[in-house]
Subunit: 82 residues, 6 copies
Amino acid sequence: MTTWFPTLITPTPEEGFDLAIKLARMAVKKTQPDETVRDILRPQYASDATELIAASHVVAVHFATIAAANGYWTANGDGRPR
Amino acid sequence: MTTWFPTLITPTPEEGFDLAIKLARMAVKKTQPDETVRDILRPQYASDATELIAASHVVAVHFATIAAANGYWTANGDGRPR
Amino acid sequence: MTTWFPTLITPTPEEGFDLAIKLARMAVKKTQPDETVRDILRPQYASDATELIAASHVVAVHFATIAAANGYWTANGDGRPR
Amino acid sequence: MTTWFPTLITPTPEEGFDLAIKLARMAVKKTQPDETVRDILRPQYASDATELIAASHVVAVHFATIAAANGYWTANGDGRPR
Amino acid sequence: MTTWFPTLITPTPEEGFDLAIKLARMAVKKTQPDETVRDILRPQYASDATELIAASHVVAVHFATIAAANGYWTANGDGRPR
Amino acid sequence: MTTWFPTLITPTPEEGFDLAIKLARMAVKKTQPDETVRDILRPQYASDATELIAASHVVAVHFATIAAANGYWTANGDGRPR
């Protein structure tokens, strides 16, 4: 069995950020499973500042979760620099 | 007695994500209990980028709660990778 | 003396979710205490997808607080499954 | 010297909720210090479902902070019921 | 060297709240560095209930961060009243 | 190999705030990779109070993550002043 989302753990902050973007998009995909509809909507919202900022907001919420899950990618896991 | 929501604990992140979607929808259902009305609204918001992003945002907030409840699905439960 | 809100502790996640809905509505009630006005507004927002999603968002924020207050309804209270 | 906001600690959840409402309003007051303008705006947003829900959202965010500050009004302060 | 933001620590909740307002405004300033444009926008959004509530929301998010940074201004720093 | 985002750790709160702005913009960039489109949108949203506040909101969410990752830039890392 495969899964699109096996873990919240990523090697680096950058990969954690990419996962946040993936999670934000996946919720859209699960609400609107029809790819044809999404293909019509994508160029619209990608050219609208309000919706780009709204999408960035969702990424920020997911990134907060992923960063906490990874102990902020620091050695001691409680947020203090090494 | 049965309950639609017995626990926040899920075996995997993916199932946690699905629970987040369920919680986001359940709040809509409890605010608008009339299924006929919801059936009219669903195709509208599922074809509107602004509302899809807004729905994705609600999923992100619930997913944060579920991920914390599951100790981020890591062994030590505090967010550090195994 | 009675209070409408004696505790954040609930026996189950489902009751915690219902409390989250109650808190979301109570803030509306305290901002617009006139029941007649609220009775006019309720059918409007309950038939508008944007506002239903916005209401669901508020429920999600309160549910996060309630879930943390209840130690996610797990035995050890720190989010790790039993 | 007096202060409008001496502490986040409240005896009960209900008083914590009232403090959350106060903080939400205080940020509006500090952004628009002119009471005359606020008196014109208040009946408008109090009769608009979108804005009532948005106001309820701000209360939810402040309530999360206040609830954490009060250890969720539980004995052990970490969110586990007594 | 000076900095506009040396620390998250404030002596009192009230000063923490003022810092939250400052951070909310600073992000606007860094996105729109032209003071002339900001001077035109300020009276507009300060007279619009939707935007005042949105601004109050941003303050609430920053205040949550600042309150946590200050241990909620309690002696033990974990949110339990003294 | 280089990365645009090697760490959440910053020496000071001010640099943490700048990183929050960078993360908010990076999510927009990854959703709309076409620089020409972004160059058209930027002056629009930078002159619109609603969008400036929305952008400030995203910065606030990222800043919360970054502040936690840095132990709020305090010695003990749990939010209590030194």
